[in-house]
Subunit: 300 residues, 2 copies
């Protein structure tokens, strides 16, 4: 079964790095990811530049990404103002975030879960009216840094309410990297029941070394779209020394060796990881494949 | 289902670290692991001191480990001379290694697979005659650095021949960290068919970020004993910058959160990892839990 890997390093990765890259380097990162085979890229977010300075040049980045019919660029938006910017910048898809717990939603988004549900529906309808795909991520779906465990029933209830925006896709995000495969199965099952027919995407962080296990469990449960970040760049805002997004090269290795082609070229992904590591001044990336090498030696 | 974690840091971990610890520090490591809940410990190897200087003080270590009825100490042996030393030192179990591929066997053990099969049978019979348990590890069972892929049929054939030594346990080792869960299932199935009734143990390296996925797959396939090394110490002889043994704290997190108690105290395991990291002069350990913290915050 083919699995699509959505490259999120340009947005979720870079947004959580202390170093701010030049616009040219961001465009080069996206170009290299596409060259390595990425066909969906979370490229930018349209949020307040004073809150997220890493994404202040979203319009300039989108103006220069390689436009080709087979690559879809995703912009993160959280309100109508962001959506208007995203549409003007020519994104192919917008993605909105709704947090699974009230405390995290208030602290991270500055809004209640109900308010974000309303924003999502509003954004989705306007995006669809403009002919742009709209997906929604359920953040902290596997656990919350403030409220602890999150039950599959809670996520299922949320998914039921997300359906009002007619999502092209619902993404289940383990934002703080606490999930395990049993939870993946329970969550996929709960959300499938709550939002029948809506394609699912999964977004895993490797903060506690469970991301690859979770990703493979998600695929076995029928999820065919997974997020990842080259090199594993991005880190974890809740644990400064810890890992964030699962590395694209690690996920690619696990998928290819498990019989799931991704269309990605492992050599180019690993090279891109090394390149972005240099750009960010990192002497060590979370991704394991860059240190270990592919197996068998030639990935093709 | 309860899963037993065999702590291998004192042998497989330390043997692959450039720094040689004092005998007192090795004993302290073992004491701390037992205090954290380890009930089987791969404590030492009885091999040639000129080849493996890290293990030269095996007798002195074994003379000072905390002896208690509920803890079993394993000594690695590769020939009769090693067995005699192990028995004299009072180990509770011996473990022998047979490599799945000819090239790796010749290069690593300096002996053919056939020769090592003979050595295993000889060791096992003598150990059993002395009232000591004897287990055998199939090294490179998931892939070989020289020969590449290893088929489950190859490992099954080997397991069939290992039965002559009446193993108390067969351990399947991903020595270079290349396996994925589909392979785990195929291997467990092949070895169970080839050596019916022999309990299985699995030994995963996290070199390519698949160890936790493989461990959980092994447990789902019925394996109830897994090897791990606190902090993930040990490294990988085939890729100097890469990770070796899966970290005990990472495995414990994945198991506990998946509903598999281990008897280990996560806080003490993480403290022991930090302690051994200091002893080895490492500013960064492979284990993720020490950087990320348990979830939810209180592991008990």
């Amino acid at each position: 079964m083919v699995v699509q890997v959505v490259e999120v390093s340009p947005r979720d990765g870079l947004q959580n790095e202390p170093e701010i890259l030049s616009t040219a380097s961001k465009i080069e990162l996206i170009r290299r990811c596409v060259e390595a085979g990425a066909r969906r890229v979370e490229a930018v977010s349209f949020v307040r530049a004073d809150r997220v300075p890493q994404m202040a040049d979203a319009e300039a980045v989108m103006a220069a990404v390689p436009r080709r019919g087979d690559v879809s660029y995703i912009g993160l938006v959280l309100n109508r103002r962001g959506l208007d910017r995203a549409l003007a910048a020519g994104v192919d898809e917008v993605n909105c975030v709704v947090v699974a717990t009230e405390t995290f939603s208030q602290r991270n988004q500055g809004a209640s879960v109900d308010a974000m549900l309303g924003a999502w529906t509003d954004i989705a309808k306007a995006a669809h009216a403009a002919g742009v795909r709209a997906s929604v991520t359920v953040a902290a779906a596997f656990g919350c840094p403030f409220e602890g465990d999150v039950s599959p029933a809670t996520v299922g209830d949320l998914a039921r309410r997300l359906v009002e925006g007619e999502p092209d896709e619902i993404a289940l995000a383990d934002t703080i990297g606490v999930g395990v495969p049993t939870q993946v199965r329970a969550l996929v099952s709960a959300v499938t029941a709550a939002a029948p027919g809506v394609p699912l995407r999964a977004h895993f962080h490797d903060t506690r070394n469970t991301a690859v296990a979770n990703a493979l469990a998600a695929v076995e449960a029928g999820v065919t779209v997974l997020d990842a970040s080259v090199g594993g760049i991005g880190g974890c805002p809740f644990a400064p020394a810890a890992t964030g997004n699962v590395a694209t090269e690690d996920l690619t290795y696990a998928l290819h060796r498990s019989g799931h082609p991704t269309g990605l070229d492992p050599t180019k992904v690993i090279e891109t990881a090394a390149w972005i590591g240099d750009q960010l001044g990192k002497d060590r990336l979370p991704g394991a494949l860059g240190r270990a090498g592919w197996f068998p030696a030639d990935p093709r």
